[in-house]
Structure formats: C-alpha cells, structure tokens
Symmetry: C2
Subunit: 178 residues, 2 copies
Amino acid sequence: MSRPAQSPAGVAPEIREYRESDWPEVLPILEEAFRAGDTYAFSPHSTAEEIHRVWIEAPARTFVAREPDGPVQGTYFIKANQPGLGAHVCNCGYVTAQRAQGRGIAARMCEHSQEQAVALGFRAMQFNFVVATNTRAIRLWERLGFSVVGRLPGAFNHQTLGYVDALVMFKTLVEGNR
Amino acid sequence: MSRPAQSPAGVAPEIREYRESDWPEVLPILEEAFRAGDTYAFSPHSTAEEIHRVWIEAPARTFVAREPDGPVQGTYFIKANQPGLGAHVCNCGYVTAQRAQGRGIAARMCEHSQEQAVALGFRAMQFNFVVATNTRAIRLWERLGFSVVGRLPGAFNHQTLGYVDALVMFKTLVEGNR
C-alpha cells in the first residue's frame, strides 16, 4: 500500500528492441546516469551524438524496458566483448531511470539479456568495469549468477570519491568446450 | 657464440613512432601473429583493412621496433582502455615478428610503452586478454611488474586447444589518489 498505484511492484516491465522513436526518452535516462559519474566510464559531459554511438550504434542490439503503455524505465545493450576469437563472450550495459529505481527493472533487463545472449549464440557474459563502490549492482549481478573474476586497482575516476577499484564480473551461459 | 652474427643479443632495437611507410613490413608481422590464433582475439582471417584499423587508426599511438638500419622486428600500440572516467588507464598490444623471437624485443617494447604511457598522462596499464596458455608472455609481463588481477573462464577460442581462459593483467604506473 506504500507504493503509488501507477507503479505497482510486481508488474513486469515489457522489454522490446529499441526503435529510433525511443531516443527522446532514452537519451535523458542515459545522460542522467553518465552525468552522475559514479557507475559508467562514459564521460559525464558526453554529447548526445557520443551517447547514441556507444549505446545504439556500436552494440549488436539495444533494448528498452517499459511498463505497458508507460514511459521508458530502462535500457540495455548487448555486444561482443572481444573480436574474433573472443566474440563468443558478450558484454551488456544497463541503465534504469532514476525515477524507476527499486522496482526490479535492472534485474528483469539482466535476465532478458541472458536469454538474448544465448539466442544470439553467445556462451558467456562479461562486465568489464563494475565500479567497486556500486555495491547494489554488485549484489544484484551476484544474485543473478555472476562472479567477480577480477579487480582493477583505482581504474575508475569516481566523480565524488576519486580513484576507486573496478570489478570484472563474469557468467558462463553455455557449458562445454566446443 | 651460438647466435648468428646478424642478430646479436644485446643490441637494443631502436623504437620509434610508426610511419605509414612501415605498413608493408608491419602488416605481415601482424598477419602472422593473428593467423596463428593463439595469442590475440583478432580473427585469424582479418583483412589488411581491419588490421590497419585496430593497430594503426584506433590507438592513440603505434610504434615499431627495429635494429638500426634493419627490418621491423616488432610493433606495439597504446590507447586508453576505457572512455572518460576510465581513460587514465591505458592498454597496449605488442607483436614481435616470428623470426625475431627470443631477442628481448617484446620486453624492450613493453618498457618503452610504460615510459610513453606516463609521458602521455596515463596512470596505469591494463592487458585485458592475455591467453592463459601463453605462459612465456605471462612470465614476461610479471617480470616487468604486471600482476594477474583477473581470470576469464574459457574466454579465448584457441585455434588448436579450444576454449581456454584469458587473464587480465595490470600495473600501476603512478601512485596516489589524485
């Protein structure tokens, strides 16, 4: 009863592939996240063109999460993490709108991305740069089956804390050597 | 006395910035390395254009190593490993010509790259994808001050061994939080 009726917990957001008509809703969500400078390496001063390039053009696919007939609440991309002989491992990035935090949208996007990854032929998923102070994200990824497989000392220039570590997280999606 | 006179041990190679006129010598060295499919993720079937893009165009700087008045023996690039808030950590890739192996050229290039990194304002150097079976390289990087900070299970599709682990290696070059 403590949640507003227009955003009930437990209503699963719809996730579908990004369309260019989503851009006016997606851009401010990404700008808000990058400007904070506490989770993503993308410059807090990234231009719209730069954000479009890294989030929409460079990845293999981009998705948006929204409640049925509601506004966009989150977005994620999926792409190969390395070329050629490393291209069976994918990389994803997820951003949830500040106003939609705490409703399980990041978890739902991550689960969706794992299904997409397997459908696209990827065998594993790697996060290259999880900011060590972002404990909420780390706990969530661990709950969804990811392990911390590396720690990069001082690799993230946190906009309020200075240089902090970044973690490498990994989840095998398809077992077997061939 | 057991080494041929034309490649004496102890003659330090000259390292200088890449020029486009080096390309006819650099390309076959890189093709040879990538074709083996045992050290770099770049596809064994990479085209000359793809190799030029990743080794020459994308990096901040590319260098070549050669003995004075001799042929190119190795090449390396340096670039930021992440955008914006991770751009104080650089990434390098090194390739030594097969015919020039065992003469300390990779070590000399790595030392040179660390000097360049500091001169360019980088604070640390990260190797994202050191193939775990490439023990010669791992021992060399450790001797030059790098530590293994991560292990990516099955992340490299080795062309003779199948899926093998890749390591993340890291060296702090400049201490201090600001």
